[in-house]
């Protein structure tokens, strides 16, 4: 089913993606950006359109959302995953709609072996070429030479630097080439995610569209889906992990223990919510990172 959410003036799902204002008007200020590769299009939503779509799609199922987004953006859309339950469910749904859907991840260099195992499993099961982004070699060399491989244990700032070089910058690089990305953010995860919309403009990453098809799902619904569709499950869940990231920085949490204890548990004086509640997908991590590493830009 192709979804037709808007009555007035919205591009239909099957319309040829139109170039963004920017490339349509040579000499316009926005044309300053890196020129798009030949043949590549820029189909960027504007804020008004995104607001209307988010309202229209608020009660849509994840599959409806994905079907519409895949039809609109095709190869200019990709799913971002760290192979946790949400990302796997989304990929499975999208793959059933379009087996050519793009899937990307970041290999930070410090991932647990189990993550590589599930990557292989996904490649095999879906015949999918997972796009793997890695940290910039020179930055990594400089960082580890200067601060050592385990700098994240020294201070919150050092950990944020490590997150920045190993994860944030590679993801930003991947997003630069896209017009839309799909995340597994869910509203029931945390207060600051309770307001997320299913379609947003990602102003933290150059204004591409951010699609959150699972916004109104609970964790239980994600697991139900994965069980029903025999979706590969990251092996560390079975060992008590609730959140899976770099190996040295995540650990299992016991029954009844706060899942927040599963990330950067040694840190003192870390910003509130800087653990699992303000990830890169919401922009929160980058805001903290910039404020802590570079200070307030405009001290009034």
């Amino acid at each position: 089913m192709i979804h037709e959410p808007l009555s007035q003036g919205a591009p239909s799902a099957l319309s040829v993606p139109r170039p963004a204002t920017v490339s349509a008007a040579p000499g316009a200020p926005g044309a300053r950006g890196v020129p798009a590769a030949p043949g590549a299009h820029r189909d960027l939503l504007d804020e008004f359109e995104a607001g209307q779509l988010a309202n229209d799609f608020d009660a849509a199922t994840p599959e409806e959302m994905l079907e519409w987004a895949l039809a609109r953006w095709q190869k200019q859309l990709a799913i971002c995953t760290s192979f946790q339950a949400e990302g796997m469910a989304l990929f499975d749904m999208a793959w059933r709609i379009d087996p050519a859907v793009r899937l990307f991840t970041v290999d930070t260099g410090r991932l647990p072996q189990e993550t590589y195992e599930i990557m292989e499993q996904v490649r095999e099961r879906y015949g999918a070429a997972i796009e793997v982004h890695v940290p910039e070699a020179r930055k990594l060399e400089r960082m580890t030479t200067h601060f050592g491989p385990n700098l994240f244990r020294r201070s919150v700032e050092a950990r944020l630097l490590c997150c920045s070089v190993r994860k944030v910058e590679p993801i930003r690089g991947a997003l630069d080439a896209l017009d839309a990305w799909v995340t597994g953010l869910r509203r029931d995860q945390w207060a600051s995610r309770a307001n997320i919309r299913k379609i947003e403009i990602d102003h933290d990453h150059g204004g591409l569209a951010k699609i959150n098809p699972l916004a109104d799902w609970t964790a239980e619904e994600v697991w139900d889906y994965n069980r029903a569709h025999d979706v590969p499950v990251h092996p560390l869940y079975a060992r008590g992990y609730t959140s899976i990231g770099c190996m040295p920085c995540t650990r299992p949490t016991g029954d009844g223990e706060d899942p927040r204890a599963g990330r950067w548990w040694w840190e003192k004086n870390a910003p509130k919510e800087c653990g699992i509640h303000c990830p890169l997908e919401t922009g929160g991590l980058e805001h903290e990172l910039e404020a802590m590493l570079h200070g307030g830009e405009a001290e009034r």
Binding site: P29, G30, D46, G51, R187, H203, K272, R300
Partner: protein, 555 residues
């Protein structure tokens, strides 16, 4: 596709899907105050993130980074402050903060750098001066706004300050109305200029007279943020004595319908009004009230926007009010103290039961203030003294009308400079137009750092919303850009603007704005407002007009 579920969800489902509903159910926002001493004893580090969210119910948000400093939003109902009130806020800024302060677009004052351990003292200091921050953030009835010259203006239909105060007092700390589906914004006024922006409020009571009796038309369902919507006329006349009952009934209809609690993305009143339409919404309100409402029509929108700036005689013989610009809305603690001292000195006292005689400081929607109840003969002297505090009356329209949200370095949401960027733009326009600046008339620049639209970018003459560029800086850093919103406005031409120019780099955005302004000045029909000029040009034409010189782009 139906946007609201046809079957009303039960509380279990609401709490399952909505984190904030769950959090409020476990412990209400207001209840966090009882725990504050224990939280302080345990130390900031040990305080659960959930309680940080609950502090919003006392007008507190984390500053950025979230390391223990807070922004506090002090509510000022109707924008009315006594000298003592302003002095108290200034003292808090200096004693507990770092001297910062800013006026907001909803007649609040915001302070920064407050520490958790000092909050009990801060709250007690506020309360002692009759002020509060309770309900200034969170799922509450936010500050109730009104016309800043209520009770003074000669054109005002009637004085509704009493009702505004009564409504504000009723909702503050009222547990029933402190667990709303989301935030809620009310404005009440009988200003003939409708200076309080009734078009963009959840509920607006618009003063009107029927057979000489004061009452209100009601508009509902306005709001900006990511889904901007102009309010609908409910088509009723409410006698003044029944106004609070009707406000309550509207809030009841919304807060009791769990359909609007399932998804916070659709929890504001505007979504319900949009789903039902004004007619069916009115029926729901009447059913809740248990009686029909009288038919009526909202007063026509005024020709243009008004902010009551400058010096004007009051309704009261011998008194005058004067509206002063506050550049960027920034008023520091020391300025608050000096202004409060001046106001008290003119009044001859601090506070008074006969409020007509005390010099009040009235906050405006465009982040400025008005001094009320000035002895007319002393106005020139007062204007000189206020200028010495940093608020020259003749600062120019651009500075007076330009507004920006809080932004960096404090706000956790912003992706771009706000007040700093606005300063750069205004300074540039002043320099570029020089003597010609008068030709810009009452140009309204509204600049926001994120889509939440605290500075109303959808309805400025030129609205700006911060974003980031795809391109990187030399060190790989993010570069700031702005979407430019054109064709929006309030009053007779009320319309939601559109982001016609997208991702204009921050370092050239002032040039794009200058070009748009020049094109309007050179190409306008006699008396043509900028909104109309933008409306009769296509997107492509406007993009072409704003084109930034190649040498700048090559930088």
């Amino acid at each position: 596709m139906p946007k609201a579920p046809e079957i009303e969800p039960d509380w279990e489902l609401v709490r399952k899907r909505n984190f904030v509903e769950r959090l409020k159910h476990e412990k209400g926002g207001l209840a966090v105050l009882d725990d504050l001493p224990a939280m302080i004893a345990a130390g900031y580090e040990a305080v659960p993130e959930e309680d940080m969210v609950r502090l919003q119910w006392y007008g507190l948000y984390h500053d950025k980074p979230k390391l223990g400093h807070f922004m506090m939003r002090v509510k000022v109902p109707g924008g009315r402050l006594t000298p003592r009130g302003l002095r108290t806020i200034g003292e808090i800024s200096q004693r507990f903060g770092r001297g910062h302060g800013e006026l907001t677009t909803r007649q609040n004052i915001q302070l920064h750098w407050l520490e958790m351990a000092r909050l009990p003292e801060v709250l007690a200091t506020l309360a002692a001066a009759g002020l509060t921050s309770t309900g200034a953030c969170g799922d509450n009835v936010r500050n109730i706004t009104g016309c800043p010259v209520a009770g003074l203006d000669r054109d005002e239909l009637f004085d509704c300050r009493e009702l505004l105060r009564e409504a504000a007092d009723f909702f503050i700390r009222n547990r029933e109305y402190s667990d709303l589906p989301r935030k809620h914004k009310i404005t009440v006024s009988a200003c003939v200029h409708q200076c309080n922006a009734p078009e963009m409020h959840c509920i607006a009571l618009l003063g009107t007279l029927r057979d000489g009796q004061p009452g209100f038309a009601v508009k509902v369902g306005g709001g900006l943020s990511t889904w901007p919507r102009l309010a609908d006329d409910l088509g009723v006349f409410v006698p003044a004595a029944e106004a609070l009952d009707v406000l309550r009934a509207i809030l009841d209809v919304w807060r009791e319908d769990r359909r609007y609690r399932l998804s916070r993305a659709r929890a504001r009143l505007k979504f319900m009004v949009d789903d039902l339409g004004p007619r069916r919404f009115r029926e729901r309100v009447e059913a809740r009230l248990g009686r029909p409402l009288l038919d009526g029509t909202a007063p026509a929108a005024p020709a243009s926007e008004t902010d009551h700036a400058g010096v004007h005689p009051q309704r009261q013989t011998g008194l005058a009010y004067a509206g002063f610009p506050v550049y960027l809305g920034l008023m520091n603690g020391e300025q608050m103290l000096r202004l409060a001292d001046l106001a008290a000195e003119i009044s001859g006292r601090e506070d008074g039961r006969e409020e007509r005689e005390v010099v009040e400081i009235r906050l405006t929607r465009r982040q400025n203030f008005i001094l009320a109840n000035l002895p007319a003969e002393r106005v020139p002297e007062i204007v000189r003294r206020v200028a010495a505090i940093g608020f020259p009356l003749a600062a120019g329209n651009l500075r007076r009308l330009a507004i920006a949200c809080t932004g960096n370095p404090f706000c956790n949401f912003t992706v771009a400079e706000t007040k700093g960027r606005l300063r750069q733009i205004v300074d540039h326009l002043e320099a570029a137009f020089g003597e010609q600046a008068a030709a810009l008339g009452e140009l309204r620049l509204n600049l926001d750092g994120c889509p939440h639209a605290c500075a109303h970018h959808w309805i400025g003459d030129i609205g700006l919303q911060g974003t980031t560029l795809r391109e990187r800086g030399a060190a790989g850093e993010r570069l700031q850009g702005y979407d430019l919103f054109l064709r929006g406005g309030l009053a007779r031409g009320a319309a939601i603007g559109r982001p016609v120019l997208r991702r204009v780099p921050g370092d050239v955005v002032h040039l794009a704005i200058e070009r748009l302004c020049r094109a309007w000045i050179d190409g306008r029909e006699p008396g043509e407002p900028i909104q109309q000029f933008f409306t009769r040009h296509s997107d492509e034409q406007l993009i072409d007009i704003a084109g930034v010189p190649a040498e700048v782009l090559a930088r």
